[in-house]
Amino acid sequence: MTVTLASLSQQTGLAVLDHLERSASIPVVHGLQAQGDLIVIPLPVIASSVKVWPDSHWKDVPGEGVELLRGAAGGNPHTLVADPGTCRWTTHVLDSDQLAIGVFETSAVAYLLHPEHGATGCPPGTYVIRRQREHEGQRARLVAD
């Protein structure tokens, strides 16, 4: 079955803005991809700075998805969506840059869904999800768009 914004929206019960193309199939991207203030990085690319704790508690990603991050001012969530039983994720992650929200491991295509940014697909593999930062004075500030 072709996965589209419309089908993901139906699976998760999450609405997407109506000006986005709802019926086109969602591209599956073999590599780094960004969605607004989040980035999905194949773990091997940054394995030297991100480690999953050995005794990490992994959670299965349910059909309705897992909310990864929500924008400012009650904004829109970035949601990780996968078919039940194909994807698990953990937040027990050590990141030398302290930007990682979590790591997911998927055996089928998993999707990142956002009401304004649309959706993007990740082929089977292990990925780190990182937030974006800004430089403010002497410190870093996390971006929340």
Binding site: L32, Q33, A34, Q35, H117, T120, E134, G137
Partner: protein
Amino acid sequence: MRREAAEIREEWLGRALSTLPADRPAAEAAISGLYHLIGLAPPRFHWVSSPVTALTTVPPGIRTRPSETADRVSAWPLPSQFSSLMRQLCLALDAQVRWGHQSMDRLIRQKVRSPLALSTEGSLRMPLLAAHDSRHRFQSTWYDTQCVSWIAHYDALRRAAGVLFTPEQNRQLDLWAAVARSGGWWWPREGACVISERPVTMRTEVCGDDGEVRLHSADSPAVRYADGWDVHAWHGTRVPSWVITDPSVQRIGREANVEVRRCAIEHIGWASYIDQAGLRLVASAPDPGNPGSELRLYDMRRETRVLLAVNGSVERDGQRRRYGLTVPGFLDDPIAAAGWTYGLSAEQYSLLLRRT
């Protein structure tokens, strides 16, 4: 149960953010009831138009002790006594939460008490902090005692979770509830109580999953009292009025506080700020993963540069939004700057295949 908890939370949030004139008889009766509970006669009430008036004026006929300064309000004799009365009440009410109520108690703490505490922190506390003329934390015990969050918690326990309190406990909780919904902040002394009216304007935006709010208004004061005293706020950050009324490039250049500068620039919009300020372009490069869009790196001020990027997805009007990200000044390659924002090197970021 969740829905009921959310309803009770919204009810109390509405009371906390109310801009209606105080119900003076109700507030005075309830505060007098609390005075009675600590063994004191009802005070004279001195109503003022705003917290700043309350903290900068002394009611007629009151001789203040040298220790009773505004910044030590939590240590004044009466606020300490009232706070201790409130803590004892909370302990007694907690003891009424039986084994079978514990999961509901947890839910109410999570869905009612803590969101309301955050909302109060993000809204009513800001004018109070401004009135105290302090950007630093001040002793806030007395203001925590007046926060609706704990009152709403026990109100939800008795109304929605079936927890039974004794008539005496209910009477005291009712007094605290009546004070919280009838007027503004209050400052008690023996014989006299100063109490503030509520603001006439309070503009907030939702900032959390449990209905938490913070102050924000892009075109007017976020909080204004009837005496004209006001506070401006940009997405929860307190800012000087010029950030809202006249966010000019010159003022941004003179502003020392980086957070205030960011708010003012966001108000102007990054792209037009860069134009108006005539920032020098350091370099530009195609944005990997975002075909047809450029990353542009500009010099901003000492040790800071700004990366102007373009959104990967279109807005409703068909345009792509441009946004600025501040980066450390040592970066001189736009790709390296974009990578830095995600903790990646230029080589790693250039692997980006798609941006939505």
